[in-house]
C-alpha cells in the first residue's frame, strides 16, 4: 500500500477509536477530534520524519509536533498509538484512573509521543517556538509543527508568540489552525467575531497558506508547500478549514459535539459509518 493509501486507510480507524474512547468514559471531545483526523493521520503518516520506536523527549534530528488545543486528545492518542508510539490497547484506558492517557495530554505520565502538557489554551505556539529555537541552536534542520484551534487563538499569548516568531525569524515552525468555526458557546463568529484571520497573520509577518483539512490530498500538497516556504526568514501558518465532527454525520454542522459523548445507539451509528480498517483496540 502506498503512503497516501495508508493514510486514507488509517482515517476511518482513528475515527472509530475516537468515538469508542469517548463513549467508553462518557466524556471527552469528539467534535474537534474528528475534524482533525485527516490532518493528524497525514502529518504522522506522510509528512513528519519521526521515530516512534526510538522515542525520546528531545526529538533531535526529527520533526516534532505539539498539540496546543489539548482537548482533542482522542485523535492525538489514537494517531500516536496507530503510529507505533505506544500499544493500541492502551487507548482503552483513556480518561480512566491511573491512565497515561489523561483527559488532556501530559508529559507527567511518561506517555511516548507527548512532549508538553496542553489543555489550558494558548500556550502551544510559545512552546513550539522554544523548541524551534533549540533546534536552530543545535543545528538540527527538522521542523516543528503545532496545531491550534480557531477559538484558541482568542488567547492573547498566541499573539505574543506570533509577534515574536516573525520578529526573530523563527522560520522552522509550521503552525496550523483548525478553522472549524466552532467553540463551546457557539460559532466563533457569534462568540467573538474576529474577521479575517489570514490578513491578521500576514500583518504579523507570517506566510499564510490555506487548505482543506478534511482532504488528505490537499493536506499533503499544502504541507509540502509549507515546508518549501519555510527556512526563508518567515514562519508559516496554515489556515485549515475543517468540519467539526467530520465522518460522523450527526456530529457535523454544529458545535454541539464539542465536548459531548455519544450514547450506545449513537456509537453504533458512528461506527457503521467508519470501517475498522486496522482492527479495533
Amino acid at each position: 500500500m502506498d503512503t497516501v493509501s495508508k493514510i486514507k486507510n488509517m482515517v476511518p480507524q482513528v475515527r472509530r477509536d475516537i468515538v469508542r474512547m469517548v463513549h467508553a468514559v462518557q466524556s471527552g471531545h469528539p467534535g474537534g477530534s474528528l475534524g482533525c483526523t485527516e490532518f493528524l493521520c497525514t502529518l504522522y503518516g506522510g509528512i513528519m520524519k519521526h521515530h516512534p520506536e526510538k522515542w525520546d523527549m528531545d526529538g533531535k534530528d526529527q520533526d516534532v509536533f505539539f498539540l496546543s488545543n489539548g482537548h482533542i486528545s482522542p485523535v492525538f492518542y489514537s494517531v500516536l498509538a496507530r503510529s507505533g508510539y505506544f500499544p493500541v490497547s492502551e487507548l482503552a484506558t483513556f480518561r480512566k484512573l491511573n491512565t497515561r492517557l489523561q483527559g488532556h495530554p501530559t508529559t507527567h505520565e511518561g506517555l511516548e509521543g507527548i512532549r508538553m502538557a496542553s489543555g489550558s489554551l494558548g500556550q502551544g505556539l510559545s512552546v513550539s517556538i522554544g523548541v524551534a529555537l533549540a533546534k536552530k541552536l543545535n543545528n538540527d534542520n527538522r521542523h516543528v509543527y503545532v496545531l491550534m484551534g480557531d477559538g484558541e487563538i482568542q488567547e492573547g499569548q498566541v499573539w505574543e508568540a506570533a509577534m515574536f516568531a516573525a520578529a526573530k525569524k523563527v522560520d522552522n515552525i509550521i503552525a496550523t489552525i483548525d478553522v472549524n468555526g466552532q467553540q463551546i458557546d457557539g460559532s466563533t463568529a457569534q462568540v467573538l467575531n474576529s474577521g479575517d484571520w489570514g490578513s491578521k497573520w500576514e500583518a504579523f509577518g507570517w506566510i499564510v497558506l490555506t487548505m482543506n483539512g478534511n482532504d488528505v490530498d490537499d493536506i499533503l500538497k499544502t504541507m509540502q508547500e509549507a515546508k518549501e516556504k519555510s527556512g526563508q526568514g518567515k514562519p508559516v501558518v496554515i489556515l485549515m478549514k475543517t468540519e467539526m465532527g467530520n465522518g460522523v454525520d450527526f456530529m457535523m454542522h454544529s458545535h454541539k459535539w464539542h465536548g459531548v459523548a455519544p450514547n450506545d445507539e449513537q456509537l453504533a451509528t458512528a461506527l457503521a459509518q467508519n470501517e475498522a480498517t486496522l482492527g479495533d483496540y
Binding site: D58, T107, H108, Q123, S126, V127, L133, Q157, M163
Partner: protein, 317 residues
C-alpha cells in the same frame, strides 16, 4: 554571638548576573531569556558575550515562559529574567502547565522581589511569590541572602534538573557569606548556634536576623540563627534539631505572612515538635511607594521587629 562582618554592600541581582555570566562561559546549553529588563536583571554581560544564546522576548512574559519550556526540549537550560511579579503572578498558568506540570528544566529568575524595590510601589512589589511557587508540585524555591550566595545559587541551579524559582532583589545589602561557600539546594546554613530562641530568616532578612542576634546577645538572650535559602524543599532536619533545643522560633521574610517561609517552617514543626512561633512578615497587605528602608520599617521588617518577636516568643515558651 559569632561576629559577622562585610567589606561592601552589593545587590543580590548582581550576584545573579555574575553567576549567569560564569555559566554562559562554562555551559553552552545555558540560554537566557529576558522580557525587556536586561539591565535591571544584570543580564547584560551574558547578552554581550553570548548573543546567540540570549533571547530578548520583549514585554511578553507569558510567551517567554512558553519559549523557555520549549527550549528544554533539545537539551537547553533556559534562565528567564524579569521582575518577581511578572515572573510569577502574571504567568502562573504558563508556569503551572508548560513548566511545572510538564516537568521542564526551566530556571525562573526573579529580581525586585518584595518591598525593597522601593518607589515603584505595590504594582511591582510582589509579596506573594514564594507562596505561589511553593504550591507548585516539583518546584524548587530559593531566596538567597546576599551577592555571593545568589551567585552560588545561580551556579547550583544549573546543575539541578527540574524547575526552579530563584528570588532576589534590587537593594544593596551586606555581602557577608564567603565567596567560596558551596551552595547546597535544600540545606540550611547555620549562622550562629544558640540556646534560647531559633531565628530562621531568608533573603534580605538574613542580615537583619544577624543584627537582631547581636542585640539579643547584649540583653543576655542566646539566639540560634539559621539562613534558610531554600524554602522548598525545606531543611526539616535543621529546623527540628534547632527547635528541639530552643523550644521556640521566629521566622523572618520579605513576604506576606501567608504562604511564605513562616508557613513552611510551621508545617515542619507542627507535625513533629509544635513550639511557639512568631512571624516577622508583611501582615497581609500590599506595599506602597517609599525608600526601601522606609518601607521595611513601616511594614515591620526591621531588626527591631525581629528582636521584639524573639522576646515575645520567649514569653510563650
Amino acid at each position: 554571638m559569632k561576629k559577622y562582618t562585610y567589606t561592601e554592600k552589593k545587590d543580590t541581582r548582581s550576584g545573579f548576573g555574575a553567576g549567569l555570566s560564569q555559566l554562559g562561559k562554562e555551559n553552552e546549553n545555558v540560554v537566557a531569556l529576558c522580557a525587556d529588563l536586561t539591565g535591571s536583571l544584570k543580564m547584560d554581560a551574558f547578552a554581550k558575550d553570548h548573543p546567540e544564546r540570549f533571547i530578548q522576548v520583549g514585554i511578553a512574559e507569558a510567551n517567554m515562559m512558553g519559549i523557555a519550556a520549549g527550549l528544554t526540549i533539545g537539551g537547553k537550560i533556559p534562565f528567564t529574567g524579569t521582575f518577581a511579579n511578572f515572573s510569577t503572578g502574571r504567568v502562573y498558568d504558563q508556569i503551572r502547565q508548560s513548566i511545572a506540570y510538564s516537568d521542564k528544566n526551566v530556571k525562573i529568575c526573579a529580581s525586585h522581589a518584595g518591598l525593597t524595590l522601593g518607589e515603584d510601589g505595590a504594582t511591582h512589589q510582589i509579596l506573594e511569590d514564594i507562596g505561589l511557587m511553593r504550591m507548585l508540585p516539583g518546584m524548587v524555591v530559593i531566596n538567597p541572602c546576599d551577592f555571593n550566595q545568589t551567585k552560588a545559587a545561580t551556579l547550583a541551579i544549573a546543575k539541578h534538573h527540574g524547575p526552579v524559582y530563584l528570588r532576589f532583589g534590587r537593594p544593596s545589602v551586606p555581602n557577608f557569606t564567603p565567596a567560596d561557600q558551596q551552595f547546597e539546594i535544600g540545606k540550611a546554613v547555620m549562622l550562629n548556634e544558640g540556646t534560647d530562641v531559633t531565628i530562621i530568616a531568608t533573603g534580605h532578612l538574613v542580615w537583619k536576623a544577624i543584627e537582631a542576634g547581636e542585640q539579643l546577645s547584649a540583653k543576655g538572650i542566646s539566639a540560634e540563627i539559621i539562613n534558610i535559602h531554600t524554602i522548598k524543599p525545606i531543611d526539616e532536619e535543621a529546623i527540628l534539631k534547632s527547635v528541639a533545643k530552643t523550644k521556640c522560633v521566629v521566622t523572618c521574610e520579605e513576604h506576606n505572612r501567608f504562604g511564605g517561609l513562616g508557613d513552611a517552617v510551621a508545617q515542619v514543626i507542627i507535625k513533629s515538635n509544635p513550639v511557639p512561633q512568631e512571624y516577622v512578615a508583611v501582615n497581609d497587605s500590599f506595599g506602597e511607594s517609599g525608600t526601601p528602608d522606609q518601607l521595611m520599617t513601616k511594614y515591620g521588617l526591621d531588626t527591631i521587629n525581629i528582636v521584639e518577636a524573639a522576646e515575645k516568643v520567649l514569653k510563650r515558651k
